[in-house]
Symmetry: C2
Subunit: 260 residues, 2 copies
DNA sequence: CGCTGTCTTGAAAGGACTCAACGCCGGTGG
DNA sequence: CCACCGGCGTTGAGTCCTTTCAAGACAGCG
């Protein structure tokens, strides 16, 4: 995007979206239609990609990145490490997520980003984001919106950590993850691949691995979910929803962002 | 701001800031200088104010506000209520905070905002925010920035809720609050007024009132803090900081936001 | 086929909760 | 002016959820 005005004549602009970008584009378009030009710009700034192995670090905790990481394929976590060796996971990222967009303005990453499966990431330079905020205010607005949804998810997690017991926290999250995966086409009905380990679930929801295991067993025993291997299936959506007091409103799926 | 271009000739534009707005302006200016025009716009959109009694509701949970609440005086909480009657406080707001700025784009308030002391609020119409994003991109950028800091605070809280014990959570928060209050001139060294009740602290940090009480006593007995009435004093900053593993970086105080 | 990471289960210890009672203090009204 | 009252802080005791420690089972992979 060195010459933003020259974009559009580029390789894949007209309605032809690079396949790996579809989760991201689809995500943004749920909040209102994008022009071909805007989609072209997004493809242009996301042209540089990088692949990571499972467990590899994508962004180092405490670093000052000059680009933000748009997750194209695979799953990642945002995590902070404490002095005693424990860690807190503050977000699970799925394809289409802008894992560290907030670092564009905040400059410093107080948490790190790590791949939990093999992952492919588009590296979007902050200088390109400068161009977007300058020349494509509607895109900037939608990006702002996505960071606000991020905050809303944090608050939902705070609520489960602060006021719900272990099985309920997990029930809530399993509902959340289904809806988020479905929004990018990665869930088949109430079935999906649960990519994170029980240890990672524990580090996200303030539980020990052992207790995550027992809590999942509780949900299984009650017939709310079944799982074989990494594959999870919600058997009784309404009961699981009720257990976790889940209300998808905070994900703001499909909420329209008006052009200004 | 019906005629944004007519602003500037207004009542109190040139370097004369309405006193109650100083915490807010001061907060924004720490991230880089504002022009007189920008400050004038802020005063203009914040012209309408409203006062609340302690415990009064400022924004209703689940509502779709048409304006956002800028806290001028007093303290407020963002809170969500669960079905079993418990509540989760996801933020404590101090003068200068834009309590529900996120609702400008998200539209719907998944949490409510409530005054915990007598409070005065400036009601900023979302239509005025539209004008700001259109005509004052740098202000929009700084507002975006403040919502990102909000998210960073959420993540810090997640970490304390998920991985720290009760006294440590409170220690962390007492450090955070000192720095935030100091940034708007409401702390005298390591002393400040702690406006929230122990019940509110419990609802914020996932603890019972009783356990908050015991945990504060622990901090007092260890000589980290003293308190008489609402007045709190940090007696051993380094020890308190260490106990809560507090690092103010996530507040991003003084981080510059470049003009785009 | 053995290795390693992950899942699973048991038992004991501990942090936090609930229930309950009491003290303190400022506000209100007689 | 003082007694009453309600909100808030404090403390004790018993219970429960969750953790830690420990040991196997299981499964994917080189």
């Amino acid at each position: 995007m060195d010459r933003p005005e020259s974009r559009g004549g580029g390789s894949a602009s007209r309605s032809q979206v690079r396949p790996e970008l579809t989760p991201f584009i689809r995500r943004l378009e749920q909040h209102g239609p994008l022009t071909e030009e805007e989609k072209g710009v997004l493809q242009e700034v996301a042209r540089s990609t990088k692949s990571f192995r499972a467990r590899e670090e994508i962004v180092r905790e405490g670093s000052r990145p000059t680009h933000s990481s748009l997750l194209l394929e695979g799953f990642a976590v945002r995590e902070a490490h404490l002095e005693d060796g424990s860690r807190q996971i503050s977000a699970f990222h799925i394809p289409g997520d802008f894992a560290d967009l907030h670092a564009y303005l905040l400059k410093r990453m107080n948490e790190g980003v790590g791949a939990i499966t093999p992952a492919k990431v588009a590296l979007v330079a902050h200088s390109d984001l400068d161009q977007i905020t300058k020349s494509y205010p509607h895109l900037a607005r939608i990006l702002w919106f996505t960071t606000l949804v991020d905050g809303a998810v944090h608050r939902a997690w705070l609520t489960t950590l602060g006021r719900m017991e272990a099985p309920q926290r997990l029930a809530h999250f399993l509902c959340e993850l289904r809806d988020r995966l479905a929004s990018v086409g990665l869930a088949e009905g109430n079935s999906y691949v649960l990519p994170m380990t029980q240890e990672e679930l524990g580090d996200a929801f303030g539980l020990s691995t052992v207790h995550v295991n027992r809590s999942l067993k509780t949900l299984r025993d009650e017939g709310l979910i079944t799982s074989k291997g990494r594959h999870l299936r919600i058997e009784d959506w309404e009961a699981l929803r009720q257990a976790g007091q889940y209300d998808p409103g905070y994900l703001h799926l499909g909420v329209q962002v008006s052009r200004c």
